[in-house]
Amino acid sequence: MGNFEYLALLGLCLAVTLPLEAVLHVGVYRQRRRLLSCIGCVAAVFISWDLIGARLGHWGYNPTYVTGLRVAGLPVEEYLFFVVVPLCAILAFEAVCATLGDVSNWLTARRKRLRERIRR
């Protein structure tokens, strides 16, 4: 994989969370304005931090595993990281919301059935 390894890892993150959209129908990708606004807000802050951290030498990137394309000194993969990771977290959150909703609906329905059975 070599130079594409970091990119591939980000791709894997998107692939693993895709079923949440495609199967659970959480509708995150469909809310384009909300998603873009949200990612814009987070990415702006954390990319700034990343730029400063890299410049101060807090961290660095191994040239073996990145494409070598750089913007303002950071590998392009790093910019994508700040889009992909918040996106995955939002998908996870919406999946939890959808699932908990289902569980609580199921519990309510079960309770109702039980109550009716007791009444009879």
């Binding site: 890892l9 909300r34 191994n62 959150f93 908990l100």
Partner: protein
């Protein structure tokens, strides 16, 4: 300066809680948020572990606490693993992301 990354992480925590003070999303009282945080933390250890064990990303030893999650013994891994600070970084980024998600959701829902 030493412990630069550690200091930045602590600042990020303060900013995250401060942001909730401004946006008032109620996220910290929401059970669904804490469940999500647990799920995301698990995957963070996997992905960040890979990033720092290969290593794709390297850290200056003087700039963080020196506490790291280790790496599985394997020829795949020549790095030293994920700094403890990365958990704080992840917490700040995920939490701020979900705050903005809720905030924009509310804002775009209600017509002005």
């Amino acid at each position: 300066m030493r412990l630069g990354y550690t200091l930045f992480c602590l600042a990020a925590l303060v900013i995250t809680f401060g942001l909730e003070g401004i946006l008032r999303t109620g996220l910290f009282r929401d059970r669904r948020y804490w469940i999500t945080l647990g799920i995301v933390a698990f995957f963070q250890v996997l992905v960040d572990g890979w990033l720092t064990c290969r290593p794709i990303v390297t850290y200056a030893p003087a700039q963080f606490s020196g506490l790291r999650f280790g790496c599985p013994p394997s020829r795949l891994f020549r790095g030293e693993g994920m700094p403890l600070e990365d958990l704080l970084f992840g917490f700040a980024m995920i939490t701020q992301g979900l705050m903005w998600w809720q905030w924009w959701g509310r804002r775009l829902d209600t017509p002005p």
